[in-house]
Symmetry: C2
Subunit: 395 residues, 2 copies
Amino acid sequence: MNAHLSIAEKLTLAVRSVIPAEELQHIALHEPRFHGNEWAYVKECIDTNWVSSTGSYVNRFEQMLAEFTGIPHAVAVVNGTAALHICLKLSGVSTNDEVLMPTLSFVATANAVSYVGAIPHFVDSDRRTLGIDAVKLMDYLKEISDVRGSMIFNKRTGRRIKAVIPMHTFGHPVDLDALKEVCDHYHLTMIEDAAESLGSYYKGVHTGHQGLMSAFSFNGNKIITTGGGGAILTHNAKLAEYARHLTTTAKVPHKWEYYHDEIGYNYRMPNINAALGCAQLEQLPRFIQAKRSLADQYKLVFKDIQGVEFFEEAPYARSNYWLNVVLLHPEYADQRDELLNLSNARGVMTRPSWNPLHTLPMYAQAPKMDLSVAEELNGRIINIPSSVYDNAISI
Amino acid sequence: MNAHLSIAEKLTLAVRSVIPAEELQHIALHEPRFHGNEWAYVKECIDTNWVSSTGSYVNRFEQMLAEFTGIPHAVAVVNGTAALHICLKLSGVSTNDEVLMPTLSFVATANAVSYVGAIPHFVDSDRRTLGIDAVKLMDYLKEISDVRGSMIFNKRTGRRIKAVIPMHTFGHPVDLDALKEVCDHYHLTMIEDAAESLGSYYKGVHTGHQGLMSAFSFNGNKIITTGGGGAILTHNAKLAEYARHLTTTAKVPHKWEYYHDEIGYNYRMPNINAALGCAQLEQLPRFIQAKRSLADQYKLVFKDIQGVEFFEEAPYARSNYWLNVVLLHPEYADQRDELLNLSNARGVMTRPSWNPLHTLPMYAQAPKMDLSVAEELNGRIINIPSSVYDNAISI
Ligand SMILES: Cc1ncc(COP(=O)(O)O)c(C=O)c1O
Ligand SMILES: Cc1ncc(COP(=O)(O)O)c(C=O)c1O
């Protein structure tokens, strides 16, 4: 490539070089694909009058999720945020507890913690995974925590630290074994925010297995979509049953009585959205293949572009490459905004990472460790177009 | 009719006599009807890849709702419960406030109050409307409340009483003017739970106009459905804008930055559900006509059945007759369960009212006035089949 091109121009050209010609008009960051049974299943819902919750597609979608991930129980809900909320509640996180989570995450991870009256406590990132750095966390907890029986407390705030929410950033699994050690050592409950990692595996096992409960999202920008949607997955049959109860307004099943035995939520996924989900799940293996092929192509074209590095899965991981990432080299980090401006102006949609959660006004006072890696990474992460392209599969 | 038939048998026969022959196999309490553009609009969502939020059907659905009700601003959300939650939050109801509401309501009215940390305070029913009895409420507030400046406090609990949520039961408008007087006198904010009253008018004005904000539901059992869905309606442009912001994760609009300026929610309605909603709203005038005609038929057939009374709209009201109600005469109230058993066994779906909210375990300690009318009515309310039947229109 021409040495006189700016890094912004090079990146734009590199992306365009791997996208099929007929898609070059407007290259979205991530667009859904509906080329399977979406149509047929949704039509069946409408024709049979079953669009609302407790429809048969909801059950089918849950079964398919359980089969695909190998996590035996799935409860389909209105979105990933609702899934996280219920996971936290059923894990016993309550008012004034602290919950550890990466500062590099979507705001929903922290918001869900607020919904149960708890406080997010921000953790730094691992360069290899973009997720929680388990070693740094272990070290930090040694310093700030006070173990009393089977509970740990934050010496600085006096509050109980109850749980940790690892998040598999852009589909890349965090080092779950290392984190499990931290959890075991410090009596922390693990809840996986697997919103971005459907189809991602850690040491051959699907993400979401290690958490007591795990939350998935099927928002419009995710690897599969139900319009809006999410799911709670767990190995624990009792917790799954309880999740189903709480998300169905805590109504006690009865032929006609409306008896609710606690404060519940209207969080179940409607049947019409689940119908979309069933059709999408059928295509998931193909979507993953296409995404991994696209990542392979990106790997090749970015190899020779100085100043950016294509982010690859860790050796133990098999990522769904949901949203592809390039990292600007530190000396080019000041060109980030120029790069975003130019690429978007040229019809190649790119995005920076989220503003780290500890920089948002409502979480600015929340407890946090040193977050220097996350802060540094944050200025360098660029998401690049990552839709499923059918040509990508043939590679 | 045969004098030797039980009241249960008479009611079952009476219902069957007004339902079209081809529908007699299984007579649901309320089934949706999708005979309009549902199919075409949903297909368009799928074909254009716009199933998720921020799609064009969401805007269109909101405009149609505003036009239909005459309430200028509408914000479409995932369901009626979410709508109530946001109405309460934006009306300034907060931790430890009390919120007045009918004990005869669906549990969501009280749950939404709990979500903002406030406490439901239960109010008795008006026999003419099945909703809040404004006169009894005025009397009660005189007794228990303490006005300090522009706030009122419950003398017994010491807590502020901030708002009142009238609910238009089964579609029947409460006496809003009388309630408005109470609100004005006691500095209470009114939030209308109009979940059941789309298409119902109070003195010629659509329900939902008097509340600072009002909540609607489009659940599968409502007069129109979006699978799952709800909306916040208001005359206040600023509150509508704020509701839109809070329900969209409080994200500050930007080309690419993810900046959220407070704790928000993922509560917006997905486009595919809004597509269904647009098609349903187009048919709403027809649905209302069919429901009112069905009510007219019920009125006739129940006239001569001793022991049950068909519940009719108040003189000032024009009800959507969403769920038709018969009231068992007090001396037959002990036959309620037999009636429910027999009619359901014979394929005529009937239901009692909700268990009054003050009898549910999580609200058993909540403050309440004398609730004798609600308790007495509760044992006598029977909901009878109320779907849209096309033959009903021709009457
Ligand atoms: C990391 C993470 N957590 C939680 C969520 C919340 O999921 P949803 O948007 O379905 O509520 C998302 C997706 O938006 C996410 O990316
Ligand atoms: C009176 C009342 N309030 C609130 C709701 C909640 O609406 P949704 O079910 O859409 O959450 C309903 C309907 O279910 C209702 O009937």
